[in-house]
């Protein structure tokens, strides 16, 4: 029973990571009807920025406050960095082809994804790296954080057993932030308007270029955050964005692409399904295939996604 609960927690945590990345996909798709294949690479960059800040001797400090500072800096930098990359990609690669054929957009996105992966391989070596500083134990980063937490934040009330719970908390906070942004602010209204009808939004005086750029920034920020969190748990390497990116897209489709709650739901479903499948004695080599199997099922029986609306194509 305890293992089952742990599995569910793992599933929810992994699922929220997928959900965060899926949010980026769904936001961008909703607004420009483009599947940004390069989204996984924003995730990867977030992890690498976190790496460069955390895998320094500063993170092995015994002072919890200095560590908290470094950690906060790492989070901030990875979110901002991924966000910047997203905006730059939109400006350089996607804006010039806006309005072109679907095939042009698709191939450009694939090309950009490929390019970013290989540029990363070139710039950072292809070797996998981890946040731990050589000479410290692998849990140095997480261990230091837990020490800080137990010393200073524990009195806040809840017990923090492992990284997974932290991920869930961060994901929940992020979602609350996004919901407020989309539903209660003017910018959110502009986003919804642009995604419904670009031309009319322009006529209404909305600067659609800016809205699109900021949407990319937002999506990239979430991906970077997810990347940083993943980097804390797992190794970092240039191709790390490929599989999570793909699965997150599957999650977005499963939940209903273009729908924000859908992306979250899809992410959680995929995360839970993967972990439950392994718990039910599926060989872990096939773990990746679970997400794709779910995709096939959804596309066959409910192509709009769980929460999606299937638009009737008019001629």
């Amino acid at each position: 029973m305890k293992e089952l609960l742990q599995t569910i927690l793992d599933g929810l945590a992994e699922g929220s990571l997928y959900a965060m990345i899926a949010l980026g996909y769904t936001l961008v798709y909703g607004i420009v009807k483009l599947i940004n294949f390069a989204h996984g690479e924003f995730f990867m960059i977030g992890a690498y920025i976190g790496l460069f800040i955390l895998a320094t001797p500063a993170s092995a400090t015994s002072s919890p406050w200095l560590f908290a500072l470094v950690l906060a800096l790492a989070f901030g930098a990875s979110v901002c960095g991924a966000s910047l990359l997203a905006v730059a990609t939109e400006r350089i690669a996607y804006r010039p082809i806006r309005g072109y054929d679907r095939i042009v957009a698709l191939l450009t996105a694939i090309g950009v994804s490929f390019l970013l992966q290989n540029l990363a391989r070139l710039a950072f070596s292809p070797n996998p790296r981890s946040y731990a500083v050589p000479g410290n134990d692998p849990d140095a980063c997480w261990g230091a954080f837990l020490r800080w937490y137990h010393a200073y934040a524990h009195p806040l009330g809840f017990e923090l057993q492992n990284a997974k719970l932290l991920i869930l908390i961060i994901a929940a906070v992020t979602l609350a932030f996004l919901y407020t942004l989309v539903m209660r602010t003017r910018f959110g209204k502009a986003m919804r308007a642009t995604s419904q009808d670009l031309e009319t939004a322009k006529l209404m005086g909305i600067d659609t270029d800016a809205v699109i750029a900021r949407t990319f920034a937002l999506g990239g920020a979430f991906a970077g955050l997810a990347g940083m969190l993943t980097g804390m748990l797992r190794i970092v390497e240039p191709m790390m964005g490929f599989m999570p990116g793909l699965k997150a897209f599957v999650a977005a489709v499963v939940g209903g692409i273009g729908s924000i709650p859908g992306a979250v739901l899809g992410g959680l479903v995929i995360g839970l399904a993967e972990n439950l499948a392994v718990f039910a004695n599926l060989d872990s080599a096939y773990k990746d295939a679970v997400a794709f199997a779910i995709l096939v099922l959804i596309l066959m029986f409910r192509p709009g996604g769980i929460l999606g609306v299937l638009r009737r194509e008019k001629v």
Partner: protein, 317 residues
């Protein structure tokens, strides 16, 4: 030396067949399939397993018979896989289809990597029990296969079915209004395209000692995609040309540092080119992006070389 040349040519030839097959699905019918390498892989494994089971002696008369049977099996296996992919994907368009086929490609790769490692060889790959064909024989076989594939696809293109494919690419709903069974046609395109990819896979297996899952991943599909985009989606000549051009670029990128060093002797230039040599994919990625933006129709567009010689009424394309 001749061996190297024939080797290079025969791989180019295999990619020509792959390009023609992918062109049928992407270019003619407008269905965006990103999992094509999976059919290539299925064909390769099928042929390899058959040859391993039969173990004929190289170049005996029985060998050639088994070669043909193995190829037929490979095409059958790949065609069935195409059916399995095509049917669920009937309702999908554009982006969704791309992702679904991409996912399928990944599933197949994971399958070959993990399932029954005693049969399929796992991530290290499957060793062939029969010696591989000598390069010049393999090249002749590949040439024959190219001729076959080209004739088949060209006949399809100028037949009613081919026109139906093109109609679906242009506007699926209008095609249905005109009475075409779009679902059946799309599945047909998938099956034929994947069977031809299986053909390429079988030839690939015959010309190597070892086939491994990593040969059949997304990278392979992207290369083939680049070839048909370069040549022109919807043109058979374009697919062939694209494969040839990219087949030439690949060794060029790899030997360019040496060539440059020989000419200029400057260290910095060589350093940059050495980086490119490590990562030729960057060049391909840039090429894909640049090409699709500046000349999305590729070199040939939808025209064929034979259009130049056609007098009178032009075939609609």
């Amino acid at each position: 030396m001749a061996d190297i040349v024939f080797s290079a040519l025969l791989y180019m030839g295999i990619f020509v067949i792959l390009s023609i097959s992918l062109n049928l699905i992407n270019g003619f019918t407008g269905m965006f399939s990103l999992g094509h390498a999976a059919f290539f892989g299925i064909g390769a494994y099928a042929a390899a397993l058959y040859m391993n089971a039969v173990e004929p002696t190289l170049y005996s008369p029985a060998y050639w018979t088994h070669l043909c049977i193995g190829t037929a099996l490979a095409m059958l296996a790949a065609g069935v896989a195409g059916l399995a992919v095509g049917v669920p994907c009937l309702r999908l368009t554009g982006d969704y289809l791309a992702i679904a086929t991409l996912a399928f490609g990944e599933i197949v790769r994971i399958f070959f990597q993990s399932f029954r490692q005693d049969i399929f060889g796992g991530s290290r790959g499957l060793t062939l029990a029969v010696d591989k064909l000598d390069s010049h024989w393999a090249f002749l076989v590949v040439l024959a296969a190219i001729a076959l594939a080209t004739i088949v696809v060209r006949n399809i293109k100028s037949s009613a079915t081919g026109r139906a494919f093109l109609a679906i690419r242009e506007n699926e709903i209008a095609a249905q209004v005109m009475g075409m069974n779009a679902s059946l046609l799309k599945v047909e395109a998938f099956v034929i395209g994947s069977a031809l990819a299986g053909l390429a896979g079988a030839l690939f297996a015959y010309s190597r000692y070892l086939i491994a899952p990593k040969d059949f991943g997304l990278m392979c599909t992207i290369m083939v995609l680049l070839m048909i985009v370069l040549g022109g989606l919807g043109s058979i000549t374009g697919a062939i040309l694209g494969a040839v051009v990219l087949g030439l670029i690949d060794p060029l990128v790899r030997y360019l540092p040496e060539i440059f060093a020989g000419i200029t002797g400057r260290e910095e230039d060589v350093a940059v080119l050495l980086m490119a040599k490590e990562n030729p994919q960057i060049i391909y990625a840039l090429l894909l992006i640049g090409l699709i933006r500046l000349r999305p129709q590729g070199i040939f567009g939808t025209r064929e070389l034979s259009d130049l010689f056609r007098r009178g009424e032009r075939a609609p394309s």
